[in-house]
């Protein structure tokens, strides 16, 4: 019987595990079946449902860029039942993956523009997919600025890639940690993301801002962007809500009339403003 059951995940093997920060890990996943791999494609911004059989499914974005073919990556923090059991797995173990689900960052439309990425803490993963996607198509965009903050130095994820971005002449990377989170070797900034953003005062001219972070960071970052002259259409963010199915049937992730899983997770600030405050 051909598998048309939308609940049956792909089988994926954990190829590589990277410890990013305390309780944060990145899995590089490969399709076990060649056929699945050949049929599969995704675009930046999309997410999936990751299964540990016997424990359940958990939702994370695809943290790798579509331009890097042959694998997908996800980064997660140990929090609930599924993420804890995911964290217990080893390289070579098999998990399930359903996806890709959700909408995308419209990077085609951003051609010829400056990009300003603003991320906080464990919200860098969804952003990382876009960043690499854009950097892999670097000639399409003008200035690329990345502002990334975390609570402390040890909480910064993708430390190698931060170093790589930092070394690139065509990327302007600013990293910051919350006051008190620095260590003696810290060379980045100290301060909350919205404050640092104000200090940086980037131009809103011909610029797209992409913001991902904890609700409190987002709440204080939007007004700064507005002050800098960013229009609501040019500010993008991703929403997270509890999900089960991933395709708009189970009924729990909606914000007003939109399902975060189906109509999101990527929203412009303009769209966000039309949504009721239920996220």
């Amino acid at each position: 019987m051909e598998n048309t059951n939308i609940y049956v995940p792909y089988k994926m093997k954990i190829e590589k595990i990277t410890e990013e920060a305390p309780f944060v890990k990145t899995f590089r996943l490969k399709f076990v079946n060649e056929e699945d791999a050949s049929k599969f494609s995704f675009r930046t911004g999309q997410f999936g449902e990751y299964s540990v059989y016997g424990e359940g499914e958990s939702t994370f974005c695809i943290a790798s860029a579509p331009t890097r073919e042959g694998y997908i990556e996800c980064t997660f923090r140990e929090a609930g039942r599924v993420t804890k059991s995911l964290a217990n797995l080893d390289e070579g173990d098999v998990i399930g993956f359903r996806g890709p689900y959700g909408n995308i960052f419209p990077i085609e439309e951003w051609k010829g523009k400056n990009l300003l990425f603003i991320a906080g803490g464990i919200a860098l993963p969804p952003m990382r997919s876009v960043i690499w996607n854009c950097l892999d198509l670097r000639e399409n965009f003008k200035d690329v600025t990345i502002l990334y903050g975390a609570r402390s130095v040890s909480d910064l994820v993708y430390k190698h890639e931060l170093a790589e971005w930092n070394a690139r002449p065509d990327v302007n990377l600013v990293t910051t940690v919350d006051p008190g989170g620095e260590d003696p070797d810290w060379k980045g900034k100290v301060g909350f993301v919205p404050t640092i953003l104000s200090e940086m005062s980037p131009s809103s001219e011909n610029t797209i801002a992409i913001v991902c972070g904890p609700p409190i960071m987002i709440k204080f970052t939007f007004p700064v962007l507005e002050k800098l002259g960013f229009t609501d259409e040019n500010v993008f963010t991703t929403l997270e809500n509890r999900m089960k199915c991933g395709f708009g049937k189970c009924g729990r992730c909606n914000v007003g009339k939109v399902f975060v899983c189906k109509d999101g997770p990527v929203f412009t600030l303009k769209q966000m403003k039309e949504l009721p405050n239920e996220y």
Binding site: I17, A87, N88, L89, D90, E91
Partner: protein, 666 residues
């Protein structure tokens, strides 16, 4: 990324003779998450431990299961090895395939399977272990000694001499306890008071000891290293700082016909009194129940005669709060009143007394100045019968245990009697002579051989009076259970030693456990004889069970040693295997509902109420909080928590569930 190492120990042949260790190791190697598995003849040996240490490093293990003996035996050994390998020591679990498997089963496939199952359970458990850090608790280097008998005195002096502060609380107006009431001590016949009083004075004079007499424990809160104790200092009606102990008040008190407790009713004392001449402190107290002024509002003669003006009729009980780090419980014992033996006529016949009363009669400071005279008419008894085991070793009527000291003191009484009444004859009814102890048997033999005490092996069935004589009827089991009848002038019953009155209440205040006889329970009958189940509270002397003087003193010194060890560091380290209430970031705070139904089940009084406040200081929730200093990790609270908000570190619900799951669903 669990990478578990499994180490199967042969324990010589202890395990391997029954369990196929290589097979278990082979099977375990295939368990999910097991990165390394091996077996070895003696895992606890040096090479065995090195095997563990090296495997952890080589295979980058994240946890180990040592499948060997009981964790009681070698868990500390392998936790150390685990730490040496660079892991948190609590990432080590023991799978007990010796006591739980090889020792209790025959060789066979089923036994191997059981060993495999035990290992599988522990593998699943250790996968879910958390790295734990030992708990550090600050220590207040002051000890509280409850009870001022010989045990309390010894403990207090030893602790004080180790350089620590001691607070001693004594219920009576003077310290000294039962030992101060004794005449001579066995087996050396030293004068009891002569050897005790200097120690009492030492207590009074030691600058490290603060003494509260006529005081009781009101409440105890806190935990090892950090107890907060409230002491009720009962009103003596005398200002201790002014009184110079001249004794004028006691001499002039017109109300002198009160039964003297110290003499066990065999003498009188005034309403304002010092219990005995050598009392420490030598300060009188007014017995409010007897004092004419307190009863009728008139008299105050003591006040008039007191030169330093130390009498305070308006004095009230005082509550003193002290912070202490350890508590020595030395509250001693009592002897059973024999009125539950009406057939022995106690109470009915004045000349049937108990052993302690005999001590007073034989004591030079006693009511007869050391002459043996019977209470009824002051005559010197010529025939005296001692009844041992009066209530002891009698499950039917009295108590089932042996009171331990009676055999010896009865022999002593017989000797003292013979020394004082040369033409007198002592008879002793006994069950067995229990005289195990240095020079004890020699002592009882001396009573028989030198002092002609006549030992009759048998029990007394009845005592009654006939023609002014006490007729003691018993059986001599060595003479075919022939009935023996002795016409005695006086009878001394060696009544059972029992828990002191108020022991149960005190135990509850301190949260120490006690046995069915209300004697305080030690933590382990062999290996922790002076500890209680509550950390930081220790036991010495007869409050634990009947003990003689050297035993009490030895235990007291043991307690002092324990307390000195505790006080040797300013922080104490405790195993982190304790209960924790779930706490989360707001808005959840916790899944605890604050019902506090866990509070009454905690045997250690470790569950407190914690108030959760928001940023503005408003009370949001009340939650259970488990005091890490008090919790012993027993898990009772976990069982009653309906919302599953309590977990024991090292034995979390998740770990237990994984173990059961591994067993049932293999």
């Amino acid at each position: 990324m669990a990478r578990i190492g499994v180490f199967i120990c042969h324990c010589g042949e202890n395990i391997s003779a029954t369990v196929d260790c290589p097979k278990v190791s082979e099977v375990a190697a295939k368990f999910p998450g097991v990165a390394f598995s091996t077996d070895y003849k003696y895992m606890c040996s040096d090479p065995g431990q090195s095997l563990v240490v090296n495997a952890i490093k080589e295979h980058k293990l994240t946890g180990i299961v040592v499948s060997a003996c009981s964790p009681r035996m070698h868990e500390p050994t392998f936790r150390r090895a685990c730490a040496e390998g660079g892991l948190n020591p609590y990432q080590c679990e023991m799978a007990n395939i010796r006591e739980h498997c090889s020792w209790v089963h025959e060789k066979g496939d089923k036994t191997d399977q059981k060993a495999i199952d035990i290992v599988r359970m522990m593998v699943e458990k250790v996968k879910r272990n958390n790295a734990l850090l030992p708990i550090k608790v600050p220590v207040t280097k002051t000890a509280l000694v409850i009870g001022g008998g010989v045990a309390g005195i010894q403990a207090a002096l030893d602790i004080a001499n180790a350089g620590h502060k001691v607070i001693m609380v004594e219920r009576d107006p003077s310290i000294g306890g039962h030992m101060s009431q004794l005449s001579e001590t066995f087996p050396t016949l030293d004068c009891s008071q002569c050897i005790l009083t200097p120690r009492m004075v030492e207590v009074a004079q030691n600058p490290n000891i603060k003494l509260y007499t006529y005081a009781e424990i009101e409440s105890v809160e806190g935990f090892v290293g950090n107890f907060n104790v409230k002491i009720r200092k009962k009103a003596k009606s005398v200002d201790e700082t002014l009184c110079n102990g001249c004794g004028m008040c006691t001499t002039k008190c017109p109300n002198k016909k009160n039964p003297n407790e110290f003499e066990l009713g065999m003498g009188n004392r005034p309403a304002i009194y010092v219990p005995f001449p050598q009392a420490v402190p030598n300060i009188p107290v007014i017995d409010k129940t007897q004092c004419t002024y307190y009863k009728n509002g008139k008299c105050k003669i003591c006040e008039k005669v007191c030169q330093p003006k130390a009498i305070r009729f308006d004095q009230e009980d005082e509550i003193i709060e002290v912070a202490v780090g350890a508590i020595a419980l030395c509250t001693g014992f009592d002897i059973k009143k024999t009125d539950f033996f009406p057939e022995y006529g106690y109470g009915k016949y004045k000349d049937i007394i108990d052993g302690l009363q005999f001590e007073r009669l034989a004591s030079a400071s006693g009511p007869t100045s050391g002459e043996i005279r019977r209470p009824s008419d002051g005559q010197v008894p010529k025939k005296i019968v001692f009844v041992a085991c009066a209530g002891s070793r009698d499950p039917a009527k009295g108590i089932e245990y042996c009171s331990k000291i009676c055999c010896m003191y009865t022999a002593k009484h017989a000797i003292l009697y013979k020394h004082k009444v040369h033409d007198g004859q002592a008879y002793i009814f006994y069950m067995d002579i229990r005289a195990a102890g240095k020079n004890y048997d020699e002592f009882t033999r001396r009573a028989i051989e030198e002092d002609q005490a006549q030992y009759i092996r048998g029990r007394v069935s009845r005592i009654y009076e006939r023609d002014g004589k006490l007729i003691v009827v018993g059986a001599d089991t060595l003479m075919n259970a022939q009935t023996v009848e002795i016409e005695a002038d006086m009878v001394v019953l060696a009544t059972a030693g029992v828990a002191n009155k108020g022991a149960e209440e005190l135990a509850q205040k301190l949260h120490v456990s006690y046995d069915q006889h209300k004697f305080f329970s030690e933590a382990h009958p062999k290996l922790k004889p002076v500890e209680t189940n509550t950390a930081g509270i220790y036991l010495a002397g007869a409050c634990q069970s009947p003990k003689d003087i050297p035993e009490s003193v030895a235990a007291a010194s043991g307690v002092a040693g324990k307390i000195a060890c505790l006080f040797a560091n300013s922080e104490l380290t405790r195993e982190p295997l304790i209960a924790m209430v779930d706490r989360q970031a707001p808005p959840m705070y916790s899944s605890c509902t604050g019902c506090f139904l866990c509070q009454p089940v905690c045997p250690y009084n470790a569950i407190e109420r914690e108030e959760v406040k928001d940023r503005n200081g408003n009370l949001v929730r009340e939650l259970a909080f488990i005091n890490p200093g008090l919790c012993q990790g027993c898990g009772t609270c976990v069982a009653v928590c309906k919302s599953k908000s309590i977990d024991i570190e090292g034995y979390t619900n998740l770990q237990m569930y994984a173990e059961v799951d591994a067993l049932l669903n293999s």
